[in-house]
């Protein structure tokens, strides 16, 4: 039951111009599980994703991915090792078509044999492959971001606020999709503000405040932890 961690982050720090945005984050993610990453605005959630996915180099600390040292590796290298992410504000290749967006990633990812149509279908973009990405609405663009990430066949997926901006009727589908991905053995780290959505996809959460991990455990326990409560109410 206890698999070795897919992603292990220890003592991760990152400063910008001397100001620490991450000040020692520890986190563990196992294959097949979804972990919610919570914290008030500015607590370092997105910075953590940026550092883990190679957008920024960490100032210190260590990232281990599937048993490899992945600290400070370039994004394209991490993709090959089996990690990918989505963006809070989606960043599809706007002049390319939906299908091309996925094809680029398939081509350079870990498993070029996947069917791009199936990935799009999975992400609720079936039949829209020929549209230019810039013609999609923001919710569709988020799902395209996700589809593009999935096309590289990641073992570890960092999802940055997928639910924000989605219509009510889309939320259930999105939650179902994340659970499916985990069920297939992937490890997911989900940044989310909507507690209801978090509850739908996971029980285990990690809480950040001011760049450090202040809590790791079940959502239930978190809501009773005085420190966590104080941070959220204070924010």
């Amino acid at each position: 039951m206890v698999a070795s961690p897919a992603l292990q982050v220890s003592g991760l720090t990152r400063s910008f111009g001397g100001l620490p945005a991450l000040a020692g984050v520890d986190l563990e993610l196992r294959p097949g599980e979804v972990v919610g990453l919570l914290g008030p605005n500015g607590s370092g959630k997105t910075t953590l994703i940026n550092v883990v996915s190679g957008v920024y180099r960490p100032t210190s600390g260590r990232v281990e991915l599937l048993g490899h040292d992945a600290t400070g590796q370039a994004p394209e290298r991490l993709v090959r090792l089996g990690l990918n992410r989505t963006f809070q504000t989606p960043r599809p290749f706007r002049p390319l078509t939906v299908l091309e967006n996925v094809q680029v990633a398939l081509r350079h990812g870990r498993d070029a044999a996947q069917s791009p149509e199936e990935i799009l279908e999975l992400c609720g973009l079936g039949g829209q492959g020929g549209l230019p990405a810039e013609s999609l609405n923001s919710s569709q663009q988020k799902r395209l971001d996700l589809a593009r990430a999935l096309a590289t066949a990641p073992e570890v997926l960092l999802v940055d606020e997928l639910a924000a901006g989605m219509r009510h009727d889309e939320l259930d589908g999105a939650a179902e999709l994340l659970r499916q991905l985990a069920a297939a053995g992937r490890a997911l780290l989900v940044v989310e503000h909507l507690m209801g959505f978090v509850r739908q996809v996971t029980d285990r959460v990690v809480v950040l405040n001011a760049g450090t991990t202040i809590f790791a455990g079940s959502l239930e326990e978190a809501s009773q932890d005085p420190h966590v409560v104080e941070v959220f109410l204070g924010a």
Binding site: E76, P95, T97, Q103, V104, G109, R148
Partner: protein
Amino acid sequence: MSSVAQRLREGAGAVGRRPRRQMVGDVLLVVVPPAGFLVASLVYNNQLLLLTMMVYVALAQGLNVIFGFTGYLPFGYVGFFGAGAYGTALSVHFLHAPIALAVLLGGLAGLLVAALLSPLLRLTGAYFAIASLAAAEALYYLISNPQLTAVTNGPYGVNLASVYNSGAAYLAAVVLVGVAMLCVVWVRRSHFGMSLRAIRADPLAARLAGVNVVRARTFAWLISATLAGLAGAIYAWAVSVFYPEAVFDLSISVFAIVFALFGGVGTVLGPLLGAVILYGVYNYIGVSQPQDFQLIYGVLIVLIVLFLPNGLLSIRLRRLWRGR
């Protein structure tokens, strides 16, 4: 709605299962322009004008590969042209290479200079543009330096009379146009080109799609420089005697950029049309209005930018959409 539908078709055909009709179109794009120049030489005997036009087609397309698909504008593009010209001259003089090989070595010289300069790709925008210009100027001052007379003949120029053959040089330029068109068609339609467009749209997202951005850009840079090197090699062969300032003339860069932008970069046909039409107009004014040559050409370019800021091919799209 119609525009979306149209893009849909274009997009669906871009990569992979490509409709046969588009394949036919692509083959024609590669074959027809060189054939056109071949035919043109039969009815019009200012062959050097046609050859220079072909050289500009190749330069505009080479520029298209690096600028149109990655957004890097090398102001010093002429540096590769000059490197190609001198690469060929040195191959003839020192290696006694047959001219066909010497021309290829000229292309190789362009490629090598580009490989040496590939760290410049770390720069962006105007910084890159000017750094490449500085590289071209430095190369010119190096090659024309009297202290290097034993190698490059310094400021005294090059004489390739021993291999001069105007007909063969013309054919080589015809082939060059085909090669340039092929490169751009390939870049436009291939997975590689798709990656380049993805990089141009969003470099970080492209890296997260697994694209090795540095490698892809460098590859485009090398293709682009090789085309310019070949163009310089063939031009050197065709004119056969020249001073260094003739093949490192900054206006060659500027013309290639203006032609490519006028036609529309990032497209297959734009730079071809841009070079053929604008260079044709340039020569027409030069012959018909020699006394006001510069003034008319300058005014024309200003008017083009003001009234056709997105390139010649933008008219085509507008017309088509309206027509449908």
